[in-house]
Symmetry: C2
Subunit: 327 residues, 2 copies
Amino acid sequence: MKKTISDIAQIAGVAKSTVSRYLNGGSVSDATKEKIKRAIQETGYIPNTFAQSLKAKKTNIIGTIVPRLNSYASSLTLIGIDEQLKELNYQMLISNSNQDLEREIENIYTLANQKVAGIILLATQITDQHIEAFRKIDIPVLLVGQQHKEVYSLIHDDYGAAYDIGQYILAKGHKRIGYLGVGEHDIAVGVKRKQGFKEAVDTKSDCEVKYYETSFNIADAIGTASEIIEEFQPSILACATDNIALGALKAAYMRGLRVPEDLSITGFGGYQVTEVIHPALTTVKFYYKEVGQRAARNIVKLINEEEIEKISISKYEIIERESVDNI
Amino acid sequence: MKKTISDIAQIAGVAKSTVSRYLNGGSVSDATKEKIKRAIQETGYIPNTFAQSLKAKKTNIIGTIVPRLNSYASSLTLIGIDEQLKELNYQMLISNSNQDLEREIENIYTLANQKVAGIILLATQITDQHIEAFRKIDIPVLLVGQQHKEVYSLIHDDYGAAYDIGQYILAKGHKRIGYLGVGEHDIAVGVKRKQGFKEAVDTKSDCEVKYYETSFNIADAIGTASEIIEEFQPSILACATDNIALGALKAAYMRGLRVPEDLSITGFGGYQVTEVIHPALTTVKFYYKEVGQRAARNIVKLINEEEIEKISISKYEIIERESVDNI
DNA sequence: CTGAAAGCGCTTACAG
DNA sequence: CTGAAAGCGCTTACAG
């Protein structure tokens, strides 16, 4: 059933090497080309990628490790990577670590096993084990979303975006401000966003600002936001992700508060749904897909041993919509 | 740098075949085991998967083709597949066709090239070219979400769910009913859901029902829903997906209609966000993740040449929330 | 332009 | 339990 290059060679009446040359664009006479083409069509021959890779000693596969598949940010980033990679004649292999750091480390080694040409890691946190793995596998690695001094990274400007959101809130006249963030193990979302925000609101001394923490989970966010509303009664709640903001919105409705009249809310991310809901959410949009595309270009450069910057920072844009009131 | 099995054999002072046996759990004496283990640790040896697969003539990789990556349904299905496959010692390779049928066909062949053990296709429509590809590659294939008489399939009960939604709407006393679906090239969403719905509402003769069509795109849905509201002024708008329902909700708000007081809305899918928005959406929940898991089990059975049903139909559940009014 | 041969890194009967 | 040898399906110098 399954045809090999030898079968084709035999049917076409040429040597295996000639078929191989035909397949790889080497010099073959037109007459020979014709014969081989016919043989391939007739048999439905498909070359064995393993044998090819075994000899060629390299693949055109880029392994991409994601913490979770059902996230707006991951999905868009993956799409960007995939699109760009296809253009560059590479292929994307997705490996899901399901928010499990151990599995993430495992995935690095598995990908190395499969001789991927490079690895893109949509990172949440980078541990020593990560660094150890990167060293051992000896394959180009690119981090997306988090940075580390020993690895090439592509990040969103979390600090800058948060600073701008802070300034924006101040400009709207808010003085009783709640910030709902996540744990500090996540440097980008947990640390940088909070830092930028704090830096901005600290420029004004007549504000009362309180910082809270929840998880990335919407249900958790609803609970935490609800408590904050009860305890602190802020005029605005700045949330570290759009999902958290969605939770805050729900909490507001559940407590009978109108948004933005009774409580203003902001998010982070620019998820599509934030535009469709009512009131539409004021948030900061990150360019996930573009970052994915850039990641693809960068990893390929790394593979080709071209120079790239150790760390690139991507832009953002404040999207002003309906969820923030002017006081 | 890169170590091979020969290096390990040499360092451990044994034959390659012994190392191979060690790696694959064949019988090796404890003393030899120890030597090999040490050699592997010392060198950080990682076996070459290509060489392994070339000999073994099979892989434990399941190719999964998705129409798009940024969809709630795909993501959850993928997670289910991935989880279950890991348990069965298989690996998932995701291939995105980006809603491009040609690319989908290409992906089938590419996956075959890579000698995947089986293919799961999250399908939108099945053309003759698909069937031709399935025949040529001679690899087990499983369809998810759509059915075809020549291929093993796993589907959601689109017809049944739509019928129930229709009945539910009738029971709520609605008599002026709009149905907002999608094109008929998508059998599951475009044909089956409409059919089930129609069947249900046709049981009552004093209703006026109008059928409309839009795309899967939220922005399109907003536009179409807006027109429907203007022209037909239904008391309820049943939407063929949750995203379309989200668009309808937005359209209602934009026209100053209250939901559900002025217009009731229902969806299809059970996306997480439908629970968080206000008003929470009445919809039908499909078990995407579970279907993914089952798909994984089924494709593995197919690979092992075990019997499975040609077509399995998955359950659903009507989720009654706040977006439908009692008339 | 074309072919014979060696070799990529493994695995798998087959002997011992 | 262990090793030598053949072979998986390709590619790549090397001759011609």
